[in-house]
């Protein structure tokens, strides 16, 4: 199909210019913001990275339990994941993730073209971890007691917000104000973490993409099992 052919060329163009683009993005962020903000908020940054890593590990473990080829998953999606880390934009990664899913991982085309765009719009575990962690952090800084109603408000708003965050860098800050105001926490706290948000956005976006693609892979795995059984029963 002609349009597919052109898209392939554009995707290849994106992939080949990606190293340069990613270099420029990261160098720009670090040169202008500097890294010392990380030392001041070290435990915050460490906690976020730890949370994302644990969740990614959880997903790989689930793939392993389902015998859905976790190693091949990592290898086939590594272009999408490294791009996610560099651009901090899950929207930008979407076409590459589609390509990786169908060509390298072997996901069925109808599942991939349905599940991966849907997941890019809706599924962001990185955001879920960030918002909950961040809200509690701000409550701790302002010495606001963490009562059960407050925790419930934080949990509920984080859960809902993780389905409606935009897939662009910096969207986390906007959603932070949403979560904080829904829980009744001081919105001024966002100013404290704003400096470090872009630096932690990379790993968080990787988790967003992983959560999206793993769920698609799980669906793919379930569906191919039942199709096999159906065709076996028909024989």
């Amino acid at each position: 199909m002609v349009s597919q052919f052109n898209f392939e060329q554009i995707l290849s163009l994106i992939l080949y210019t990606a190293p340069l683009g990613v270099f420029a993005l990261i160098a720009s962020v670090i040169a202008t913001q500097g890294l010392e903000v990380i030392t001041r908020l070290f435990l915050y940054v460490f906690g976020l990275c730890l949370g994302s890593t644990i969740m990614i590990g959880f997903y790989l473990f689930v793939l392993f339990l389902l015998k859905a080829k976790p190693v091949q998953f990592c290898q086939s999606f590594s272009p999408a994941l490294s791009l996610a880390f560099g651009t901090a934009s899950s929207n930008a990664v979407l076409p590459i993730a589609l390509k990786n899913a169908q060509e390298s991982y072997g996901m069925r085309e109808d599942i991939a073209s349905f599940a991966i765009p849907l997941g890019t719009a809706l599924k962001r575990d990185g955001s879920a971890i960030l918002q909950g962690f961040n809200a509690i952090f701000i409550a701790q800084i302002y010495q606001i007691p963490l009562t059960p109603p407050l925790m419930l408000a934080i949990a509920l708003s984080t859960f809902l917000v993780s389905f409606s965050t935009a897939g662009v860098p910096g969207a986390g800050i906007i959603m932070m104000t949403t979560v904080l105001s829904a829980a009744g926490l001081p919105v001024e706290g966002v100013a404290i973490v704003a400096g470090v948000d872009r630096l932690t956005d990379g790993l968080k976006t990787v988790l967003n993409v992983v959560s999206n693609t793993v769920n698609a892979a799980i669906l793919n795995h379930w569906e191919s099992d039942s199709q096999f059984q159906q065709s076996a029963e028909q024989i």
Binding site: I30, Y59, N91
Partner: protein
């Protein structure tokens, strides 16, 4: 060298470059960023985002036409959403639990806290729920 290794290498080089600029050549940051780094990075992002909408649209349509029967779409969506809900709940719990255990905000000094506005009005939960629904198709 595979493309993802190249990208990761570019990340490392970019980090080193940015740190070096920030620490040793602070005067160079502004012109270099304004005329070279930012335009390059932003153009790259814009190139991708320009392409994303047509690709997503066409692949959604292609994917939907390939699905054998209409009931399958509903089944896929239901399974996906269930799995999303379960895993998101785990993620939310993990983030909150980590913050409670690590206590990152307790005893933090040296931060200038802006005065908290006295009237922290609790917005009605229902209004906030409605405002979550994004009214724009594409941000």
């Amino acid at each position: 060298m595979s493309i993802s290794t190249l990208i990761l290498a570019a990340l490392v080089v970019g980090t080193i470059f940015g740190t070096g600029l920030n620490l040793y050549f602070p005067t160079l940051i502004e012109p270099l960023d304004h005329y070279l780094l930012s335009p390059l990075g932003q153009s790259f992002l814009r190139l991708i985002q320009f392409v994303v909408v047509p690709i997503v649209f066409s692949s959604l349509i292609l994917g939907l036409t390939r699905i054998q029967n209409a009931t399958q779409v509903g089944r896929y969506a239901l399974k996906l959403i269930t799995s999303y809900f379960l895993t998101s709940a785990i993620a939310v719990g993990l983030g909150i639990a980590l913050a409670l255990v690590l206590k990152p905000g307790v005893g933090v000094t040296g931060l200038t806290l802006s005065t908290v506005s006295d009237s922290v009005k609790q917005p009605a939960l229902i209004d906030w729920l409605v405002s979550l629904i994004s009214s724009k198709f594409y941000h």
